[in-house]
Amino acid sequence: MATLTGSFKGFGVTFAHMFRKVITTDYPFSPPKPAPRYHGRHILNRHPDGLEKCIGCELCAWACPADAIYVEGGDNTDEQRFSPGERYAKIYQINYARCIFCGLCIEACPTRSLTMSNEYELARDSRQDLIFTKKELLAPLLPGMEMPPHPMRLGETDKDYYIGALTNPGTSAGAERAPWSDADTHDASDPAEHVDRAETAGTVRKEGSPR
């Protein structure tokens, strides 16, 4: 008799769970949302006119304890301007096979060009694809932004860009957020991408690769 009661007790536990809250996440169909300050993949932000904030100073690379960042500076000229001021990052690479998401790089960034998004889906099927270049890291263009190279639109000199840029959220609004977190921040220059945007937001697909 006692055995019979024991069996029903066990079924009872199972049955009771049917009324509790489900803790399984339905990944990848509805990916969970991390905490707001979760250290995800990096973004290279832009100024409101589309110029890159990165000046190629390599302080992020210096700060990186995992040696995951490679930067090579380049000369801005009046004909070919990528950022305000003299210097821009000609090559910018973050190797996500090495990155430990500690965030020291974004603390080191003197222009708040480098920030981190909440994006965590960084699995790739080759090591090469884990090296993100400027193409992957640069924030998409918001409406009103223009793809560099182009002249400085917000002032005569780089000081007009940088003085007050850190305390004045207006000049960097939009670019600070993970650009794919809502539909308004898609790449304005490419209307087709809006339609094609992946469900699993932020995944950078190779051009032409099947979804």
């Binding site: 100073c57 390599e58 000369d75 001021g85 003299e86």
Partner: protein, 831 residues
């Protein structure tokens, strides 16, 4: 200690409570340095005169009303010095100066090339405040301005320490950059027409007419290196990397025979910049712009990376495997051995590689037809049978290391013949200048005119028509007088070889006056190749090939049978070329030689085309590889270990800076020899060094040559005698495609005297055409104080390729005409 203290020229002082003995006249900052006390400083540099410009090194000296600058304060007996470590007054003064220096400093460290290795950055951390109290607007200047094509000036960052201006004035003698304006507007700038009130063009180019000389110092790179802030930066390295991601390797310069030690900074297998190394015995802390910036040839697109073999069907070079190419080279050389193989290793080799060539020629090819000299070795008209230079080198240069930089600096008097120090050996020029300014060295030069470089040496000129130097050395009283003081030095350049009897006269003069003799070649590998035996009359170590005992010694050391080493002197470079052109030779083995450098480039090209088999060991596609049957790629200096021998005979060893798979010449030659069943043992640098070290010292030394002095050519109407030498920055193969560096080359001009200018009816800047039967060179005239009927041209500069276009060398008679050439000459000018 007591002995030192007793000396009259020492004083005892107290620094931070510690008693210390110092030489009289020593600066307080140096004494502190010796004690291990670091006083912050910007303007102070041990090789420059004290300036006290930045005031950062203030210390408290007891009895003085205010803190004093320790970089200008000399020690005195009983002086009590308190640095920032023990004196709050000094610490406060230093902090105050630092705060003041930073008032107008833009703090753009993230974009500044100096960031990470910046004395201002470091000392702001050690001495400065954590926060700025300065809220006003900083002074702004246009940034950066090009003060030459390779140096950029950012005046905002400047702390007015005047290291650059003092270097330019005291060391280089090129006062192109100076303090301008007054008060808060005081700034470093170049002299330019538009500077004083005029409209700025903004291109930063100094004015041509007034404002004086444009910024074309050959030593401008040093100002970048010693700038304690990021005010001076180099175009070539700008924004390329950060100090903390560079790997620094010591190296030696591969350009000229000065033998500078250098530091190569590289990242990801690529050299990004080179800096002057610190070697007080040789280059002190300086180098020239060619050594600093001329390293891009190794990454040129025409670099050869795989062996190439000429396809017999198509006649074109095709890529081949090493084994295939080595076999082809070995077979070709073996088949040609009977008829003879000429070896032209060139003057850019390390001692080890030159030794490999010398050994390969003797042991594998059984010939003495080897000559490292890739330049005219005799005057245009003289007989190819004269071996004056080779005899001179054997008698007076090989294996001799009498004269050093120090000896030159401390000599009472130096006579220079056939050498333009600033253009052909810039570090020797700096040392001569130092001797001249600091030690009252008198310089006398036998040269066609008093060049700017000679002027900076305060040289007395013995004006010589090219070709007449030998007579002057023999008879001119001023020349002999210049060497009369004991300890004098006679410096001859390689160009003296083109004067019949010149080197003989120099050797005789040195013997007559007791002066020490130094021979200064132009390329880094020349002296090493000479001592390694790359001459038709010399075996390694300066042994004459005709000396039986020397051959026996070497046969023993090389473990070859007696009789293998050829016993008669071989052909020199001119005769190798001639023999190759007329079909006598069966093959040529050529190292880094540009036919355009040889006395007759046209004949050299013909020779390369005519000779049945050419093996070329090359770095890049060249005029030789175009004719070669087998091309074997070899390593540039940066990718191999080796040793250069500078003009003093000093060894300048260096390790490989970059890892690479490219092989040294020695290793390639060893591989060819192995296929011909000879063990050359030159594949490993340390093995060669051991072998060279174990060779017994040479004993016999041949007699001095006594070549006849030939009367200089007599030019007729509208003719002149040609004077020519290389400019430091020219069309040399190792400077190919480096536009930034070429931007500061001296503009090529044809220098003519007043007499010629009058007879041609030209003024400064008018075009003048210098021609021979082969072709012509048209350049703007520069009227210079030259002897009558002499014209000077740069040997290998844009628009003036003398050897190729004219086919003659210094001392030859050339025709002159005003303006551009007529149709008859057009073909020659077009090359």
């Amino acid at each position: 200690m007591t002995d030192v203290a007793k000396k009259a020229d020492t004083v005892t002082l107290t620094v931070d409570g510690v008693e210390v003995t110092a030489e009289k006249g020593e600066l307080v900052i140096r004494v502190a340095e010796r004690m291990g006390i670091a006083i912050p400083r910007f303007c102070d540099h041990p090789l420059l005169a004290p300036a006290g410009a930045c005031r950062q090194c203030l210390v408290e000296v007891e009895g003085q009303r205010k803190p004093v600058a320790s970089c200008t304060q000399t020690v005195a007996e009983g002086m009590v010095v308190k640095t920032q470590l023990s004196s709050p007054v000094a610490a406060k003064a230093q902090a105050g100066i630092m705060e003041m220096l930073l008032i107008n400093h833009p703090l753009d460290c993230p974009t500044c090339d100096k960031g990470g290795e910046c004395p201002l950055q470091n000392q702001a951390m050690s001495t400065g405040r954590a926060d700025s109290r300065f809220v006003e607007h900083k002074r702004e200047y246009e940034k950066p301005i090009h003060i030459s094509s390779q140096v950029l000036l950012d005046r905002e960052r400047c702390v007015l320490c005047q290291r650059c201006t003092r270097f330019s004035e005291e060391i280089a003698g090129d006062k192109f950059i100076d303090l301008m304006d007054r008060s808060s507007g005081e700034q470093i700038n170049v002299y330019r027409d538009d500077f004083f009130g005029g409209e700025g063009t903004g291109d930063g180019q100094a004015g041509e007419d007034e404002g004086d000389v444009p910024f074309n110092s050959y030593f401008s790179g040093n100002t970048i290196q010693i700038c304690p802030v990021g005010a001076l930066t180099g175009e070539q390295y700008r924004f390329r990397a950060r100090p903390f991601d560079l790997v620094s390797s010591p190296s030696a310069c591969e350009h000229c025979a000065a033998g500078c030690s250098q530091r190569a900074d590289h990242r990801r297998g690529k050299v990004l910049r080179r800096l002057a190394g610190d070697d007080p015995a040789v280059n002190e802390e300086w180098n020239c712009d060619k050594g600093r910036w001329g390293f891009r040839y190794t990454t040129a697109t025409d670099r050869i990376t795989t062996p190439l073999l000429r396809d017999p069907a198509s006649g074109r070079l095709r890529e081949a495997s090493w084994s295939e190419a080595l076999l082809a080279a070995a077979e070709g050389l073996r088949d040609a051995r009977e008829r003879g193989v000429g070896v032209l290793p060139g003057g850019r080799l390390t001692v080890e590689d030159a030794y490999a060539y010398a050994k390969f020629a003797r042991v594998v090819l059984g010939t003495n037809d080897i000559d490292f000299r890739a330049r005219p070795i005799r005057s245009s008209g003289s007989s190819p049978a004269t071996t004056e230079e080779a005899d001179f080198l054997a008698a007076s240069v090989a294996g001799i290391t009498d004269v050093t930089y120090e000896a030159v600096e401390n000599a009472p008097s130096v006579l220079i013949v056939g050498l333009e120090p600033e253009e052909e050996c810039p570090i020797l020029f700096l040392r001569l200048r130092k001797g001249h300014l600091k030690r009252k060295l008198t310089v006398t030069a036998v040269s066609p005119y008093l060049s700017r470089g000679l002027e900076k040496l305060g040289a007395a000129l013995v004006a010589a028509v090219p070709g007449d130097e030998a007579r002057l050395l023999n008879t001119d009283p001023a020349v002999a007088g210049a060497l009369s003081a004991p300890g004098s030095v006679l410096i001859v350049g390689e160009r003296l070889a083109t004067v019949p009897g010149g080197l003989s006269a120099a050797a005789a003069l040195a013997r007559r006056t007791g002066a020490r003799l130094a021979w200064v070649p132009r390329r880094a590998g020349d002296r090493g190749a000479l001592d390694a035996g790359c001459l038709p009359n010399l075996l390694p170590g300066g042994r004459p090939v005709t000396d039986v005992a020397a051959r026996a010694e070497l046969s023993l050391a090389w473990r070859v049978e007696a009789g293998v080493l050829p016993s008669t002197a071989g052909r020199d470079v001119d005769r190798i070329v001639a023999a190759a052109a007329d079909g006598t030779l069966g093959a040529l083995l050529v190292g880094g030689v540009d036919p355009a450098d040889l006395a007759d480039p046209r004949l050299a090209e013909e020779a390369l085309a005519a000779v049945p088999f050419v093996v070329s060991l090359e770095l890049r596609q060249s005029a030789v590889t175009r004719h070669a049957d087998v091309v074997l790629p070899i390593a540039p200096a940066v990718e191999k270990a080796g040793t250069y021998m500078d003009w003093e005979g000093r060894l300048r060893s260096f390790a490989a800076v970059l890892p690479g798979t490219a092989m040294t010449d020695g290793r390639v030659l060893e591989a060819i020899a192995a296929l011909l069943d000879v063990t050359l043992n030159t594949g490993d640098v340390s093995a060669i060094r051991r072998e060279l070290g174990s060779l017994p010292a040479a004993t016999a030394r041949p007699a001095l040559p006594a070549a006849e002095v030939v009367e200089p050519a007599r030019p007729a109407e509208r003719e002149a005698v040609l004077a020519t030498w290389h400019q430091l920055l020219d069309l040399g193969t190792l400077l190919d495609g480096d536009e930034v560096l070429a931007g500061t080359a001296r503009p090529p001009v044809a220098r003519i005297g007043k007499d010629l200018a009058e007879s041609l009816g030209v003024v400064d800047g008018d075009l003048v055409t210098v021609s021979t039967d082969r072709g012509g060179v048209t350049l703007p005239a520069a009227i210079t104080d030259l002897p009558p009927a002499v014209v000077w041209l740069p040997t290998n500069s844009p628009g003036s390729t003398v050897r190729r276009s004219l086919g003659v060398t210094a001392g030859a008679v050339v025709r002159l005409q005003a303006g551009v050439p007529g149709p008859i000459l057009a073909e020659g000018v077009a090359r």
